[in-house]
Symmetry: C2
Subunit: 372 residues, 2 copies
């Protein structure tokens, strides 16, 4: 088998080791004569996997003990509604900082949820939308924050627009008074981030964590305690914390694959090691873009360029189409930009191998030489 060079935005490439392990034990897990997905979620065999996955998240992110790690369902798309359902009580305001399409969606769903379920107000605390697109995060002085807000919501990395908060040790998230909630779907575990800046972090698994169908929620216990209590049990994040994500049947095989993926990440040296690799991968592409004499053009401000989703344009849509087609012929998959923005996008999550990125950079140079 020749493995594809997979630049999909999500579902995305998974570590080969995690997949091979799944294949090897698919029909007989741990000598039990059953697949892990045939085990009861209340049985010891599965529970061990479940708790190992939870513990790996906490360990790899260096979470303090006052944080809970939950595995739930529905993706970030469900969290867009479930976060305000839990935390935006009547009489309060939630501040949303919008830096791309996913932030827009979070606002829209929060507004609908809040109206439907007697919640509070949704306030756009900042939007960097300009000329129908997004190329940067807001400056601190652009934030219009509400005193006493229920929470501030942000998106650390906008997958479609390739706009990312720096969030390095010297560039923490802007100080806010209210609890800070972050959709970290597409960059969690891809770089070192001080998680204690955030009160709730959530994300779909299908970028750096595992397959689609698993949603991660990381939350301060004190925040979960504050959540609305008059909701159905299934919608209260508290319920899932109290039951260690076993309130109802979890997506067991998905969580098993999360376990495999995170065990691989740990074996590779953890988040610090993968960050170094990811930074190099991103630099290889941005350097190629910036060194192309204008043939390739990344619209994103240099300080806000994503190390997970690198987006760029070619001089014409026809050239972009030819680029994607030629790349595919070389087994480079998933390079077409999101249909809402066009252009090219290379998603280079943790499991995307440096050699694939080098091959892509080489192809870019060759294509520019031939067609530039």
């Amino acid at each position: 088998m020749s493995r594809a060079l997979n630049f999909n935005a999500g579902p995305a490439s998974l570590p080969f080791a995690a997949l091979a392990r799944a294949r090897d034990e698919l029909i007989d897990f741990d000598g039990s004569g059953m697949s892990v997905m045939e085990h009861s979620h209340r049985g010891k065999v599965y529970e061990k996997v479940h708790h190992e996955a939870t513990a790996l998240v906490a360990e790899l992110l260096e979470l303090p003990k006052d944080y809970d790690v939950l595995f739930v369902q529905g993706g970030a798309s469900m969290a867009f509604a479930q976060i305000p359902m839990n935390f935006l009580e009547a009489g309060k305001t939630a501040d949303y900082i919008v830096t791309g399409a996913w932030g827009e969606k979070a606002v829209s769903e929060a507004r609908a949820m809040s109206k439907a379920a007697n919640g509070g107000e949704v306030h756009m605390a900042a939007s960097t939308q300009q000329d129908k697109t997004y190329v940067r995060v807001p400056r601190q002085d652009e934030l219009s924050l509400t005193p006493g807000a229920a929470y501030v919501h942000c998106t650390s990395n906008e997958t479609i627009h390739g706009v990312e908060y720096a969030l390095g040790p010297s560039t923490p998230f802007p100080k806010v008074q209210a609890p800070l909630i972050c959709d970290m779907s597409s960059d969690i575990l891809g770089r070192r981030v001080d998680m204690t800046q955030f009160d709730v972090v959530y994300g779909g698994a299908q970028k750096n964590i595992g397959p689609s169908g698993v949603t991660i929620v990381i939350a301060k216990k004190s925040m979960l305690d504050r959540g609305r209590k008059d909701l159905p049990a299934i919608f209260q994040y508290r319920t899932h914390a109290e039951n260690k994500s076993l309130y109802n049947t979890p997506p067991t095989f998905g969580i098993y694959l999360v376990r495999n993926t995170l065990a691989w990440l740990k074996s590779e040296g953890g988040v610090a090691a993968i960050e170094a690799r990811n930074v190099k991968k991103a630099a290889a592409l941005y350097d190629t873009i910036d060194g192309s004499g204008g043939f390739y053009r990344c619209p994103v401000d240099k300080a806000c360029r994503s190390i997970m989703n690198v987006v760029w344009r070619l001089p014409t849509p026809e050239l972009e189409e030819a680029f994607v087609k030629e790349a595919e012929a070389q087994q480079m998959i998933g390079l077409k930009g999101h249909r809402s923005v066009g252009g090219i996008r290379a998603s280079i999550y943790n499991a995307v191998e440096p050699a694939w990125v080098d091959a892509l950079a080489a192809f870019m140079k060759d294509f520019a030489k031939r067609r530039g």
Copy 2:
């Protein structure tokens, strides 16, 4: 490998052919150089699988064209809240028929949801609870139905109590005027049922359909049209119908396994063939219970005995414990009754092989002879 005799209640046994197929193509799906779970949900490779799974549900259940088949997330537990969120508008009443623990939970979540989101009233139209347990479904004359109800909700098979509506060709569900909504998690596709009796049917996949993490919703298009429109898009079943279950990233690998499971079911002759097999499996156990001279005792009324979850008691809790332990030593897994009711339970879904049931019946006879 010696395959376990898996009587788990869910997650449960899956067809070996479905698992072996998943193993064989896990790291390289269809020659693509990628796992199916690494493919984009917007790509042709995955979409083919997705639509095949949807079409197999419709074909196997003989659904008319005015029904939609959706794959969503959250399990039946989320549907307990999402159904009233969508269909119980203010000023209306929903009637619930309760025949076991899952029906109780559906009522409780519906009440909370309706209060939190300005919905209507929840009315217990019938409950067959007696002496803290359930042994039957209600007679038609026991139903206290509300004229003009938003819907009537029922549970076709109660997994914990082993109580099932007959629903054969000569025993349709009692006639109700309002739209009929049914939690069919644990018996869907296990026997022939005229689906046109129901306006909405839902269930977690982890019994007869596939692995946990996939939820199926089958609904009349006209019913979906009537659903509340002021909800977040993610919570409106309409959204998922309009987008063919691709509104947001679906649990792609789970749906792939549903495809494998249903392809196996079709190859075995479909629902009619599997029903004949299931009826024989259930009879083997009930006959052993009834022929044990009182050593084994099934508390459920004969007309309401589940063909999916066979529950029974032994004379003492000590004997029940010994029974489970000895069975496990013979690789018979999952026979302990639900912690809320005790006793023994054998879940004998579609993928449970007749030979396993025969082995269990033989063991029961031997155990009774030795310990009776």
